[in-house]
């Protein structure tokens, strides 16, 4: 049961080869674009790597880079094949190369589709990673004298100012953490002692936020301490005040930013995937239609081209069997099963 059978006249074959040559160069460009996008995404993820707990999300840009490079190689060979395809003298030398070429190409093209799906599917993992990372960042904000954590303050401040956000879920996260180091607290002062005593863990908690939460668009000078105390400030109601500090949480801001980036990249890579698949299908059709010409005196006859000779499942088994055989060879075969394995091995190679 042949899949995708089409009739090709000589003129149609020539047109197919020419169109394929152009298409393969476009697809090479698409592969380069995919690689560049992968590098860009990786750089962006690494820039904020300090507020991410794990690097699981990096599988997306890594896959994109691999697929981009592979795509450039696949399309380069596609252009070489189609250049030689119309010449019956030069085409036969590609014969042995074509089967592994198609196997690899289909594998990498599927990988491209998987990377697009991954970029949408990894949102949950990214969110969890950011949640833990930001929580730690806020917790270690005050530890500017501890080696390994001394840059947390700077990182969080820069992050809040650049993404216009405050805290993990929102600004109230700062009320639950002591973000002022003990080095700068006057323990002889009564109010400091009272504040620490009133807390179970002995932490100095305030209803205040760091200056990096301040919104420059606010019409009034920033109120960062005693935020929930309306009487401490003139003409101020913290429940209706929206412009004083950033309302949004940094986790939401970062997730939105990265998902926006990955959505755009996903759309571009999807179109490259479609281009790549059409290139592969065209190469296959060209190859099969040229094979029918081989050995004929008149090269200008009409031939048939097809995508798959057998059904999808049988072709898949045909490709996977050599790989399985390679894996099975590593296992120790029992002696009585050896001649049978040898017989089945020879039958699979001749089919």
């Amino acid at each position: 049961m042949v899949v995708g059978k089409m009739k090709f006249t000589f003129q149609k074959r020539v047109k197919l080869a020419q169109g394929l040559w152009l298409l393969s160069w476009l697809a090479t460009l698409g592969g380069a674009v995919t690689f560049t996008l992968g590098c860009f995404l990786k750089t962006e993820l690494r820039r904020r790597g300090e507020v991410m707990d794990n690097t699981d999300i990096h599988c997306v840009p890594n896959t994109l880079m691999i697929v981009g490079l592979a795509s450039m190689g696949i399309n380069y060979f596609a252009s070489r094949i189609c250049q030689d395809a119309l010449d019956p003298g030069r085409f036969p030398r590609w014969k042995t190369f074509l089967k592994p070429y198609f196997g690899c190409s289909v594998f990498f093209t599927t990988l491209m589709l998987i990377s697009v799906i991954l970029s949408y599917a990894m949102k949950g993992s990214l969110e969890t990673s950011l949640k833990i990372g930001l929580k730690n960042g806020i917790r270690f904000y005050k530890d500017t004298d501890t080696p390994g954590r001394c840059f947390q303050k700077q990182t969080i401040d820069h992050l809040q100012m650049e993404f216009q956000c405050c805290g993990n879920n929102d600004y109230k996260d700062w009320f639950e953490v002591q973000w002022i180091s003990n080095r700068y607290l006057d323990f002889s002062s009564k109010e400091v002692k009272d504040c620490i005593k009133s807390n179970v863990d002995g932490r100095y908690l305030v209803d205040g936020v760091p200056f990096s939460c301040c919104n420059p668009s606010s019409p009034r000078p920033c109120i960062q301490y005693k935020i929930t105390n309306n009487t401490a400030h003139y003409n101020y109601d913290h429940q209706t005040e929206e412009l004083n500090i950033f309302i949004r949480g940094c986790r939401e801001a970062l997730v939105n930013y990265y998902m926006g980036l990955m959505n755009t990249i996903g759309a571009v890579v999807l179109s490259v995937f479609l281009l790549q698949s059409s290139v592969l299908a065209s190469v296959r059709l060209l190859q099969t239609s040229m094979e029918a010409v081989a050995g004929q005196e008149n090269v200008e006859i009409e031939t048939e081209g097809y995508l798959l000779e057998k059904g999808v499942k049988e072709t898949f088994m045909e490709y996977v069997d050599p790989v399985l055989k390679l894996l099975l060879l590593n296992q120790v075969t029992p002696p009585e099963a050896k001649p049978e394995a040898g017989a089945t091995g020879t039958t699979t190679t001749t089919s």
Partner: protein, 362 residues
Amino acid sequence: MAVLPIKFTKTKRDRLAQVLWVLNWISVVTGIILFILGIFLKVEINKRQDLMAERQLQSVPNMLIAVGLIACMINFLGGKICYDCVDTNKFLRWKLVMLPYIICTFFFTLSVLVGALMCYSMHGQLEEALTVGLRDAMRYYKDTDTPGRCFLKRTVDLLQIQFQCCGNKGYRDWFQIQWVSNRYLDMSQREVVDRLRSNVEGKYLMDGVPFSCCNVNSPRPCIQYQITNNSAHFNYDYQTEELNLWMRGCHQALLDYYTNIMHSIGLTVLIIWLFELSVLTGVRYLQTSLENVLRQGDPECESDGWLLENSFVETARSNFNIIKHLGKFNQISSNGDPNIDKPSTAHYGPDNVPLKPLPTAS
């Protein structure tokens, strides 16, 4: 005696024409670069227009944009001319245009040089514009309810955050102006009223700065109020504390930023000017050598190319004479016309008919 003559064989002339064709196309690209640099500078100046007082700052980017566009057109034409110069027949088409073209391009390269020099001279005007502009911006910082000034607070805050600077010359500038609006001052409180009274002009001055002056690299939470009061904060000495606020003034920060941009652009424009000048020299040699070929009549022969036919002094003198005579074009010169101011000896009319003896009838 010609200025810098060079002998050109036919192959040398053809090679020169081809090279000049390529160089002219490269010059079109450099013209586009000039145009882009002009636009970039214009955008950068417009971005901070709120912080600069009104001065003639737009002249430099406008000049660069104009020069860039003209360079593209001139070099496009030059490329076409050089392409045709390989063939002596086609050169005849351009013969009359080439000399005016070269003169125009020469004056144009002068304007490119002027553009480059203007980049360096803008420094003084920029400094003045920034001083006045920043001073006013800080003064109107609190006027977020006045239309026309309501975005100055945001602009100044973002400026101080982005350029890591505070105030005009330093953070103390904020101590001398009232940057907290009266709308947010509780006039019923005693300390507010005291502070207002203690000031001659009734301004609410304090030793505090806006939050945007806070230094991100400070190990301790930002101290922005009561800065000069050491006892108000634990373990704090404002005279030795350097990391709490940004120490640099925004005037210096902006000036450095724009000076860097101007110097880079100026250098690029100078290099482009040198390139244009060399292309112009090549075109002049090509023109003179082809004209000499036409003068000698044989397209395959060797000819001389030069910059000027006679020496500088003689060329200047002859050009000056031409300009002098141009002015006298409408007057009829007495040397030229033999009929002017001479008494007329031809007598016509009844008064002067000479008496001719009448023919007698015989």
